[in-house]
């Protein structure tokens, strides 16, 4: 059992039923980090975040401090918070938005001060009706308490925050699509270069886009220092991180764990974490970091939960969501469903993604329903290869954004790991698990 005694950084208040209220937040040290930050210079605050070497928690894992540093040369005009959590089986930001909205706001205000931004937008997934209400209510209270608005806490620094609802589109979690959506348009990703948000972001102005969990770490980092954060975890993966565990486990949920020190085996089987697989069944496969990530099998279960460790093993920690499949799972059906998701959510700008996802979905459905042909496996891999040439990891890109190259992961993994199962579907003319 290697769940360490690391402090709970972003989930410390969740034991309280009123964790979303200003009263509870203030009673548990809330806005202390912001007050401390306002007494420091913006550069000193940014330096603490750099020292913490906080990796972005949205999925790409880009260091937040470095993202900010890129902006120091140009005047940052907007800070945009990405709360459009839509990666299948990822539900950590959902928790933070609903249960500790003030922690998010405090982090946002610290970031705004460090970047000297006066206008912040928090883009929240439209389906999070309660999350939107909680964050807006928290924002109302924070305005009333003088923590946001003009001359916050008498510091001379002014900043406004706007809560912006999305309306249901996975692609809007991609940062440039999110900016398009925030400008009141269809969520079409912009091509990079030149449209890196740091250079040409919201309304064409330099913009920082950060994830909800990333921001929620900032109050602790400012209060305890970047070095204390960096002392947790190992290597590039510092601090703690939220892992969302779902699928075939006895105790699904969101767990805050010290990076690297815990393994997938611990997460899935430890009694205080996942609690093992129901009905005494065996593990068949698991997805280590959102459905865009290549799958792992039982022999990779002892890998530590670290960004580089998972990357070296050929997948990604991504959004920190782990999906467990037991030995009664039809992998054809599971990977077909994931492919259908991408086909539905492709924005349609780029041909390889738009057409490829449709082809893949139809072929997968044909196999699952018992009408597949043996040549379909090669056809699938060929179509995958057209979207992400070489089928390597990280994938090569033929499209504007990374949604396209994410499509082949589940199919390529499933065929590579369970080719026999595809052949049984084809030869027996149906799903053996039906």
């Amino acid at each position: 059992m290697t769940v360490t005694d690391a402090p709970r950084i972003v989930t410390s208040r969740l034991g309280h039923t009123d964790s979303h209220t200003l009263e509870r937040y203030l009673a548990t040290g809330g806005y202390g980090g912001l007050r401390k930050a306002l007494a420091m210079t913006p550069e000193a605050v940014a330096h603490e975040v750099d020292t913490a070497s906080l990796l972005g928690r949205g999925g790409a894992g880009f260091p937040a401090g470095r993202k900010w540093a890129m902006l120091r040369k140009s005047p940052v005009t907007y800070l945009v918070i990405n709360g459009d959590e839509s990666e299948p089986a990822t539900f950590k930001d959902h928790l933070l938005l609903e249960r500790d909205p003030h922690q998010l706001l405090e982090g946002v205000l610290i970031a705004a001060y460090a970047l000297q931004v006066t206008q912040v937008f928090i883009y929240i997934r439209g389906e999070f009706a309660l999350g939107l209400e909680r964050v807006q209510a928290a924002l109302n209270d924070a305005y009333a308490a003088g923590a946001v608005g003009g001359d916050i806490f008498g510091s001379g620094f002014s900043v406004d925050v706007v809560v912006h609802p999305g309306a249901g589109a996975y692609i809007c979690g991609e940062e440039t699509a999110l900016l398009e959506s925030l400008e009141g348009k269809r969520g079409f990703p912009r091509i990079k270069p030149p449209f890196f948000p740091a250079a040409i972001g919201l309304y064409g102005a330099p913009t920082v886009v950060n994830n909800v969990e990333t921001m929620s770490n900032l109050p602790w980092i400012v209060v305890n220092g970047g070095a204390a954060f960096a002392a947790l975890g190992e290597g590039r993966s510092t601090g703690t991180r939220l892992f969302a565990l779902a699928g075939h486990v006895n105790n699904p949920g969101v767990f805050e764990l010290e990076m690297v020190k815990t393994t997938f085996a611990d997460l899935i089987h430890a009694p205080v974490l996942g609690g093992g697989i129901p009905h005494g069944r065996a593990l068949k496969a698991f997805i280590p970091g959102g459905v865009s990530a290549p799958w792992f099998g039982p022999d990779q279960i002892d890998l530590p939960l670290g960004q580089d460790e998972v990357a070296e093993a050929g997948s990604m920690l991504g959004s920190g969501s782990v999906v467990v499949m037991d030995d009664h799972t039809c992998v054809v059906r599971a990977s077909w469903r994931i492919t259908r998701f991408f086909a539905r959510e492709s924005c349609g700008q780029c041909t390889p993604c738009r057409e490829g996802s449709g082809w893949l979905e139809k072929i997968m459905r044909r196999i699952e329903s018992g009408h597949g042909r043996e040549a379909d496996l090669d056809l699938l891999l060929d179509a995958c290869d057209n979207i992400a040439p070489g089928l390597g990891w990280p994938p090569q890109q033929t499209t504007i954004c990374v949604l396209g190259p994410s499509i082949p992961s589940s199919i390529a993994s499933a065929i590579e790991m369970f080719r026999d199962e595809f052949l049984v579907h084809i030869k027996e003319g149906g799903c053996p698990y039906d």
Partner: protein
């Protein structure tokens, strides 16, 4: 050719002048408050669509014309944006939109069976609305509540994991009006509204905008200079 009063081709038909007033005065007032929060009015597009749905239940052509007038865009631009998003309904929906997630984490926990049950017990396929207009059934993508699978939302309020039995009870409760406390009607931010306007010092904001414009002009000048320089050495044939 009939002379008629058609708008000449090429001239955008802005709806602002003669827009039919469909949205209520209250909704229009709230819309203006929302627009004031953004540097550019068009950013209020999605929030305004949610407001219109709060009033009508769905996004009617009349409401889209109103929104176009408020944002100074064409109704086609409103429809073009709205049609991209799953939550914006350009056709009528029931009083309750019931979304059943069937994505991978829910699939592993019986979501396909739940959806099948829902379709047969409601007598509609996913995407359809019951004859009494009370329920629209949707098969949705991941709703980020995967530890309570299979996940169901009603009007985008989470109602926890459902079994076929509990689903039928939920539907009966919805039809009896027994869940109006925790499940309000359509729209976002229905129960909580923003209570304050923007407060950041306008001078600071103006200064920031000026610095931004200056930086952009600088970049444009640099790009122009680079272009001129490369023209000078003959580079690409023009």
């Amino acid at each position: 050719m009939s002379g008629g009063s058609r708008t000449p081709v090429g001239v955008p038909r802005r709806s602002g002048v003669a827009a039919p007033r469909h949205l209520s005065a209250d909704t229009r007032a709230r819309a203006l408050e929302v627009i004031a929060l953004y540097p550019q009015p068009r950013s209020a597009m999605i929030p305004l669509c949610h407001l219109a749905q709060e009033e009508d239940g769905w996004l009617t052509p009349e409401a889209m014309a109103d929104i176009a007038g408020l944002l100074d865009v064409t109704p086609a631009e409103v429809l073009g944006t709205a049609s991209f998003y799953d939550m914006l309904h350009t056709e009528p929906v029931g009083t309750h939109v019931v979304s059943v997630c069937t994505n991978v984490a829910c699939l592993l926990n019986g979501a396909a069976e739940l959806l099948e049950h829902a379709e047969s017990s409601l007598g509609v396929n996913a995407g359809g609305t019951t004859a009494d207009g009370s329920i629209t059934l949707e098969e949705s993508e991941c709703l980020a509540d995967c530890d309570r699978a299979p996940c169901v939302q009603v009007n985008h309020r989470f109602v926890g994991a459902q079994t076929p039995v509990s689903f039928d009870r939920l539907v009966a409760d919805l039809r009896a009006g027994a869940r109006t406390q925790d499940i309000p009607g359509h729209g976002t931010l229905v129960r909580v509204r923003r209570t304050t306007g923007l407060q950041a010092d306008p001078v600071t904001v103006a200064g920031e905008r000026a610095a931004m414009a200056e930086a952009q002009a600088g970049r444009a000048a640099a790009a122009e200079a680079a272009k001129t320089a490369s023209d000078g050495v003959g580079g690409q044939p023009s």
